[in-house]
Symmetry: C3
Amino acid sequence: MPQHITTLTVQTSGKALVEITREVADWVASTGAQTALLTLFCRHTSASLLINENAAPAVKRDILRWLDRLAPENAGYEHDDEGPDDMPAHLRSALTGSSLSIPVADGRMVLGTWQGIYLAEHRAHPHRRQIVAHLLADN
Amino acid sequence: MPQHITTLTVQTSGKALVEITREVADWVASTGAQTALLTLFCRHTSASLLINENAAPAVKRDILRWLDRLAPENAGYEHDDEGPDDMPAHLRSALTGSSLSIPVADGRMVLGTWQGIYLAEHRAHPHRRQIVAHLLADN
Amino acid sequence: MPQHITTLTVQTSGKALVEITREVADWVASTGAQTALLTLFCRHTSASLLINENAAPAVKRDILRWLDRLAPENAGYEHDDEGPDDMPAHLRSALTGSSLSIPVADGRMVLGTWQGIYLAEHRAHPHRRQIVAHLLADN
């Protein structure tokens, strides 16, 4: 059974949800796989992956504000080597997670109509982020 | 290596944790797979999947109340096109996640004694929810 | 396509993040797999799996304190059969998750430089925890 693997690089410009659905879909299509299991893995502890609504931009802003409240800056963290956004970034990554598993059918990810895949950048400054994409496929 | 894939449909009746362990187990058994990797994927951004205690009904109620506190209604969200339960539903989905990966051994999911699989419905009104089940199996 | 499966047992000594990266890496290496998909699954509802920073011990302590705030003890839970740490443990498990999916390339998990794999023990007393490790591999 063929395996396909690649690393997607995403340049961020500070705290944001960066949609990567298109890049992932293009790579899946390039393999020619029809039925498959896609795994996405974020190689960082201050960025993470999530699936959410891809239609209304306000949803992304509300998610970011909610993360700001749930894992706030300046909450008396013991670890603050890299500044006030350091420890909140680790917490937000733990909350949203490092990996996603998405089945592929008829050559396409089985995402629902309103689902988009996002890289969540939790640091204030720009970073180059690496996401490993792995596909177990029928061809 | 054979792949099996199906869509499980769950009718919800508003906010609740709906146990789907039996439906998933029955489908896994129907494939005849002995050793396998099961992936469950929820095709919605206002419903999600989680594993939790399946013995005490009070646990489900406590989880729902905790989600109500962690991602409350009427918290000044910018996105409220579909009512006060709209944005909280997206946040609760982000919190609990869209996919689950469960190994199968000796023909059964390796769930612990007290683990059940739940579809979490985060909207106030009933919905028909789709969960894609994918199995990479030895036969 | 070969599948490898094993159960890793972790003895905990109360609330903590127990790093298991080495044990997992050793098992992956023992299979001889070069390109593969690793799934880790925690068979409990009061312990969970997460990936986070493995360099600064203060990060682990900050994560535990944050979980204490986000899912506190004595918050008026209906379910408290096993003591004040019972329901918070279920909530913290729901928050961090039961499974992880990690691609393997060139014989090694594709973890980033600072990523470690942790079993999060959420109960106050020691427990023996079981993590099922499953590998879909090229050999």
